[in-house]
């Protein structure tokens, strides 16, 4: 049965979004009513975009209303597609995709100091997220999206991945818990996501399923860009499986955890000093290092407490973490700085790498600085620190921004 399909947001609060209603009719063609805040600049192009979309989606008889608050074309397209799917739930509709832009690919060994979570059904936060220079931008399909909006968020996130330039930020998506999240992997991999976060991960099997799905999609679409996995462990059971989870697939590049569900399940009291999660943090660092992937710390939930965040991030770095989640742009410079090596660390790393290169040249198998022997893993770690220092060349400015 066909009924009215509605998608998006309206009203003055809905900045950079639009609201679409499609009511299929038996005959009479398309009756189009478009109200746009930016009519005076884009009236013709919005009409053309909506007409083309209805045509592509195969909607030929319907009453269509659009209320636009300055949504970019990829947002209008997503809302239109979602409204059409909701109006015609029994039809198999094609996708209405924005024009693909070239994207840089990612690598296993790159800095993942900060990753910024953005709600997947809110276009306004996505447009400028890159300017705050997180190492990764996460478009979230999970907890920030209510159950009845999962379809809308998936379509919007897919279009954002295709249409937006995220600059030097890694393009990440947090899917829903597996198995539900498996269905989301297809569209987002084809749209060019680079890291998939698997929430509430409890078993290695969940990671393996995601990895298989990624390979299937890549084979089908002849897409050989790297797509990596970052499992998020959020339960005591998951914590005990941490090593297996981290080792479950060669696509896993990092391991992280979440505290909300975990502390609730523990029956622990959340404290400022984070004593309740000491074991969990240590477990994650050890499992990640044992599996050879990056240990990444969880988010700091109080976006207003920058001093608390700073202390928390420094502590995480001391424990061995390489990065931390962010829920507000103002957290990014603080987190980036905390996980960027200090000048002493960089100097020391340079000494090690130089000594190693000298030893290689001289054909020596033993590397030493003074009387101290240097093992190969230490050289690798030193090289990583130098790479990081180069990636974080803004560190001087960062120091200023965080005092």
């Amino acid at each position: 049965m066909n009924s009215q399909g509605i998608a998006g947001h309206k009203g003055r609060q809905a900045r950079s979004d639009c609201w679409v209603s499609i009511e299929p009719t038996d005959s009479g063609g398309i009756k189009l009513d478009i109200k746009s805040k930016v009519d005076f600049l884009y009236k013709d192009s919005i009409h053309a975009l909506v007409r083309k979309g209805l045509d592509r989606l195969g909607v030929s008889n319907a009453k269509v209303c659009v209320e636009d608050q300055g949504a970019l074309p990829f947002v209008i397209m997503a809302r239109l597609e979602t409204a059409a799917r909701r109006a015609l739930p029994n039809n198999k509709l094609p996708e209405y995709l924005p024009e693909t832009k070239p994207h840089k690919s990612t690598t296993r060994d790159r800095w993942r100091r900060s990753r910024l979570y953005l709600p997947g059904n809110e276009p306004k936060y996505m447009l400028n997220a890159k300017i705050h220079k997180p190492d990764g931008i996460i478009l979230d399909l999970e907890d920030s999206v209510p159950p009845e909006e999962k379809d809308a968020a998936l379509t919007l996130v897919r279009n954002a991945l295709i249409a937006l330039d995220f600059g030097s930020c890694e393009r990440m998506v947090r899917i829903n818990q597996i198995p539900a999240g498996l269905e989301e992997i297809g569209p987002i991999v084809k749209a060019g996501t680079q890291v998939i976060l698997i929430p509430k991960c409890e078993t290695a099997g969940q990671v393996k399923k995601a990895a298989v799905r990624i390979k299937e999609i890549q084979n089908d679409s002849e897409n050989d860009n790297n797509v990596f996995l970052m499992p998020i462990i959020e339960s005591p059971l998951g914590m005990f499986h941490a090593l297996e989870i981290a080792q479950a697939s060669s696509l896993v590049v990092a391991l992280t955890y979440g505290l909300e569900d975990y502390t609730a399940e523990l029956g622990a009291r959340k404290t400022g000093s984070a004593t309740e999660c000491l074991w969990a943090r240590s477990q994650i660092v050890n499992a990640a290092r044992a599996a050879g992937v990056q240990p990444i710390d969880t988010v700091f939930a109080d976006a207003g407490d920058t001093e608390g965040l700073k202390q928390n991030a420094i502590q995480a770095r001391e424990m061995g973490f390489e990065g931390k989640g962010c829920i507000h742009p103002r957290q990014i410079p603080i987190v980036n700085l905390a996980f960027t090596p200090t000048s002493q660390e960089i100097e020391h790393a340079q000494k090690i790498v130089l000594a190693y290169e000298k030893a290689l040249k001289q054909g020596r198998s033993v590397v030493s600085i003074g009387s101290k022997m240097i093992d190969l893993p230490v050289v690798h770690q030193a090289q990583r620190i130098i790479n990081l220092a180069m990636a974080g060349k803004l560190s001087r400015n960062l120091e200023e921004r965080t005092e």
Partner: protein
């Protein structure tokens, strides 16, 4: 209406409100001739021997000033959105059956909307002023039928009074504290608004001056901002305005992370370009991004151990913090934007008042803004040639006044700190809807998508060449915005002129057209 093409390529009327106009001939190309205007010569014979100029109420004062048809009445806007006296003046005029008045405030705000009914009824013939919000929309829609809107900068308004371009018959000047003689200030009353700098030209050049206060203090009023020997009458009434509403939308620091980033980038530019050095001066403006810029720069100064010589302000608690932390030697203050500023003006010896006549006047023996090292301002549009607009939106609707914006362009480095687009509406455009500042006045444009330096400023380009600042061409930024938002079509406006924009020297820079 006869129109000519001015040196900026814009079509402007040769006559505005029955007065002949000079089309804009280029920046610093117009030389005024003749002598300044003057008020009537008064004599003490006509004034009370005991110096007591208090009359029972505003109505009496206006009548005693000889209020009649066709006069020009001025008011100031230090209470901004909390102004009530301007509305009272025209209610009284309506009551007295006076018609065809010209209202000449230093700016009008949405709170002045009640005056529009007096324009409709003919009590007010037309308004010449910066018009904010509904006031601007009224003019844009062609509803001010009898005269054209004339938009002047704060400095341009003071200069127009001084040059005799506008003659004020009666100035009604609100002052939070005054003595019987008319000496007044804005800081020692019960409801304070700080400096009274917008009122100085009115005080000096109007034929008649009424001071309206809510606190009568013993002679002499201490300190004196407005001198009583220019004053005809003093009115004491319970309520003169709401100081809580001085803080309006444009006077609060932005909370948007994107705009805070723009402010931070502007501050980094100022530091990197070497402008931030001991003894330098800056204009601290209103507007969310400008306030955040001041905040960011103050933090960088603290970290680098740099102290400013003076800050020209729009004073806010942020600027006051700078003074009290020793980050600047002085604040030269033309307008208080919050009550902390009022407090500082009262308590700090190095927080001194100025006026638009002194700081911004282009027809003077120098002015303060010519001495300022850097000013960070907003804009509604900037084009790829660095021309800028601050009064109309891209749909042609006039919603903002010029304020001190044009005057601040004379700082050694003028930075426009703006988002590259707002809700799909590009700010970086091919051509501005209304020209408010010619391209050579704008040195740098800072957006969230990079910094563009005017090619004329090779010194600034060189100074930031090897830095890590995201410097790009303005065309690159415009192209990125267009690839996101799509190429906009040009909005359709009528060819009916409803207002003109004047440059600081009184020449006509552009016309504003009625919206459809």
């Amino acid at each position: 209406m006869k129109m000519v093409r001015n040196a900026a390529g814009r079509f402007v009327p040769v006559e505005v409100n029955d007065k002949p106009q000079v089309p804009f001939p280029g920046v610093n190309k117009y030389r005024p001739k003749g002598r300044k205007a003057g008020a009537l010569i008064p004599t003490v014979i006509d004034y009370p021997a005991d110096g007591n100029k208090v009359v029972p109420d505003l109505k009496t004062a206006l009548q005693k000033c000889g209020l009649r048809n066709g006069m020009t009445i001025s008011t100031h806007h230090h209470f901004r959105e909390g102004d009530i006296v301007s509305n009272q003046v025209f209610d009284i005029c309506a009551q007295l059956g006076v018609r065809n008045l010209m209202w000449f405030p230093s700016a009008s705000f949405p709170c002045n909307e009640p005056i529009l009914k007096h324009v409709d009824s003919g009590v007010v013939h037309h308004i010449e002023a910066s018009m904010n919000g509904v006031m601007g929309a009224y003019v844009s829609q062609g509803r001010m039928k009898k005269g054209l809107g004339v938009l002047r900068s704060h400095g341009g308004r003071a200069r127009a009074i001084q040059d005799g371009e506008v003659h004020i018959d009666i100035a009604v000047l609100v002052a939070p504290a005054a003595d019987q003689f008319g000496n007044a200030n804005g800081i020692s009353g019960d409801t304070n608004c700080g400096v009274l700098g917008y009122a100085e030209a009115d005080l000096l050049y109007a034929d008649r001056v009424i001071i309206v206060t809510s606190k009568l203090v013993p002679f002499p009023c201490i300190p004196i901002y407005l001198y009583g020997h220019y004053v005809d009458y003093v009115v004491v009434q319970d309520n003169i305005g709401n100081p809580d509403k001085i803080v309006s939308g444009t006077t609060q620091i932005t909370r948007s992370p994107d705009r805070l980033y723009i402010a931070e980038l502007a501050a980094r530019f100022v530091k990197t370009a070497g402008i931030m050095k001991n003894g330098f001066s800056l204009q601290a403006g209103a507007g969310g991004i400008s306030l955040a810029f001041t905040n960011s720069l103050a933090r960088m100064m603290k970290q680098s151990g740099i102290k400013a010589g003076w800050v020209h302000a729009g004073s806010t608690k942020y600027v006051v913090d700078m003074l009290e932390q020793g980050l600047t030697r002085a604040i030269v203050d033309g307008q208080a934007f919050d009550l902390e500023a009022v407090r500082s003006l009262r308590d700090n010896r190095n927080h001194i008042p100025t006026s638009t006549l002194i700081s911004y006047n282009h027809h003077a023996k120098g002015n303060y803004l010519n001495l300022v090292d850097v000013a960070v301002l907003g804009a509604t549009e900037v084009d790829v040639n660095f021309n800028a607009n601050v009064v109309t939106h891209s749909d042609g609707m006039m919603l903002h006044g010029i304020g001190g914006w044009q005057n601040c362009m004379f700082a050694h480095c003028t930075i426009l700190a703006v988002p590259s687009f707002r809700d799909r509406i590009p700010v970086i455009v091919d051509k501005v809807t209304t020209l408010c500042a010619p391209a050579e006045m704008v040195d740098v444009v800072v957006t969230e998508r990079g910094i563009a330096i005017n090619p004329r400023r090779t010194d600034l380009i060189d100074a930031t060449k090897h830095s890590d600042l995201p410097v790009r061409t303005i065309l690159e930024i415009k192209q990125e915005v267009e690839s996101l938002c799509g190429k906009p079509s040009r909005p359709k406006l009528t060819d009916k002129v409803v207002a003109v924009v004047k440059w600081v020297d009184g020449t006509v820079l552009d016309s504003i057209y009625q919206v459809t």
